[in-house]
Symmetry: C3
Subunit: 274 residues, 3 copies
């Protein structure tokens, strides 16, 4: 995977010099981390969710990130509106279907978004993407532990990618990314990442940052997921079991210090026959 | 208090092995800390506040935590709906009446919640619980400093517990927990805890985590409050006066490392004649 | 500037002994930092944005801080209502026009607020204040980098101050504060401050804290801006390039330790001919 590693390691320089503006309609649980992760990686975040302004904001942005973590009727309308504006202006759209499968409202929202908006990348955990791929799942909050043992991530990712003609990234013990054609596994990360809320949301936003810098969707999704995995490794190597608060801070630190060399040294990528 | 200490020290193991899903309808000021505190103690947080999904989410959860810190008309309806679903499904409900007494809207909301929903635990400061107990108070924000000198916490806790047939925990310099029958004082904690926003909200969520793991309400309330007090002590002993930012991080660290021994060594419980 | 330095260095003691309650209607991205910054500097934060309670909450507060970072139709009405209540009760109002110029909805909201409410202090970056001063700008999110090179901060601050009869603080590489008459430049701060979201929002809230302690608007604005700059310097001197997560934590630490001496030693103020 020397080629992909080379490509993603170059993407970080592209991102840092472009400083793309990334419009996020995201949940209020992890929004601060999402903004700080975007700043750390070199992007410029803007959060706006009122229907009276989402089109204006999307139109001046380089990418749109939609995260349904704490959706409500008002913001769902804004997500649809922003998504359509993004499509009209060829601005890439990244979707994080947080908790898909856990409530009818989330299921309905995900369906509407996928119907009304051409999504470029879906980044979720196995249970969320399995729901999107058309299977019934039993989502336990935003937790990946149980779901991970149920289905086959590679199969689910391919199914969703082909169904919606987009790139799909499933994060878990081993992450899988596919554009429906090529399939890449990422083995970076530490289990401690699941003990901090928002590592998934931040990962999705990072994908948006890379896409906003003009990186293609497969590379951007690999780069975003790999960045979070590496940041987790660096933080854990530094702080071990001091606790999840320090580890959390260390993730942002590591993101703010990523450079070409970091990816070359640490990225664990593996292309599979799809 | 060897018996209660033993019981709460065992509860942490129960909690960590059960990983209960805790549904929080909570304020946007401290929601990230609440989620991270729940993960740190071993629970799994899910935040959802739209009326179209709160019933679905509560129904798959092991506990419901309602916090009125930044309530609005929309979320109040969701709180009522979620509370009723919890009651129907025998899912425990914990209420944090943030700022009760400070506005008519908060007072109205607290009254509605207590009328429409059987609350299992109320966790607040002295001024908030005094309002609930039926007394007029002068709430200064979410601050406990002034109110602490006005009324008698034990009297207020008993009054509220008997009035609403629930367990009540009042946090302050010395915390008081009662189920209307037994009364336990907790002397853990450091004054620095009042210099970080959200320590109260996190405490309430921790109570919900213990209840979600099947711990009875008196024990769960003691365990939740005691956990935050101990976490504050550990963080302060480690970092002293470095500043409230580091102290804040240290609280989450300490929560993520609590175990049976921590409670046995540190819990300062004192049962009173009620 | 020995006199102004002396005045602001005394203000911190006044603030810490007064512990003013500061009502914030603010964005959900940085609200936790805003609350913790207020606690760190010695104030008491209360966040409330429902129209059914904002008047009650403002009326018991010592200052009102309005931040339009993630405004929506509901909260804009609450901002107007709270602002009017503040005016009626002679409670100072501080406005952070986040992203003014970036969408028609933000522009409309800023105009409404400035028309319906007497604002005491506007604290923004150059592009936001330039919009307010009546010039067309090209706001890129909440970023100051590009805008800083376009217009003259001193000119813009004076124009806005005279137009709305208030004090204006523009933060950037060098900050400018004016009440329309006196003009003071502040040279504290480090570039790293722009890599953490919310340093602007926190600065605005700190201005509100000083005003809530009875400090006049020119001094309060200088003190608030200078406090954040100094906190950034202290954190950066301590942690250098460890990363933006640690730097972020260090800002709150430093705010919680500010005292009279800190300002005397570090404040870099320069009064200009206006």
């Amino acid at each position: 995977m020397a080629d992909i590693t080379a490509v993603i390691s170059q993407s970080i320089e592209k991102l840092r010099s472009n400083m793309p503006l990334v419009h996020c309609i995201t949940n209020y649980v992890t929004v601060n981390d999402v903004a700080n992760a975007l700043l750390a990686i070199g992007a410029s975040p803007i959060m706006a969710d009122d229907i009276r302004e989402v089109s204006d904001i999307t139109a001046i942005s380089s990418a749109l990130v939609i995260n349904i973590g704490t959706l409500n009727e008002r913001t769902v309308q804004s997500m649809l509106e922003a998504g359509k504006t993004a499509n009209k202006n060829n601005i890439p759209v990244v979707l994080d279907p947080v908790g898909a499968g856990a409530s009818q409202f989330r299921n309905y929202t995900v369906k509407e978004l996928l119907k009304e908006v051409q999504i470029n990348v879906i980044r979720g955990n196995l249970s969320e993407v399995s729901y999107i791929a058309g299977l019934k799942v039993n989502t336990k909050g935003v937790d990946t532990a149980l779901a991970d043992s149920c289905n086959n991530p590679m199969e689910m990712a391919l199914m969703a990618a082909n169904k919606y003609n987009c790139t799909v990234g499933i994060t878990g013990a081993v992450d899988v990314v596919t554009d429906g054609n090529r399939v890449v596994q990422i083995s970076n990360g530490v289990t401690y990442l699941s003990k901090v809320t928002g590592t998934g949301c931040m990962t999705t936003a990072l994908v948006g940052a890379f896409m906003g810098a003009g990186v293609d969707s497969l590379t951007a999704t690999i780069a975003g997921i790999c960045s979070m995995g590496i940041a987790g490794e660096i933080s854990y190597e530094k702080y071990n079991d001091i606790g999840t608060g320090t580890f959390h801070m260390g993730i942002i630190d590591a993101l703010s210090r990523l450079n070409t060399d970091t990816y070359i040294k640490r990225a664990k990528l593996n292309e599979k026959e799809s």
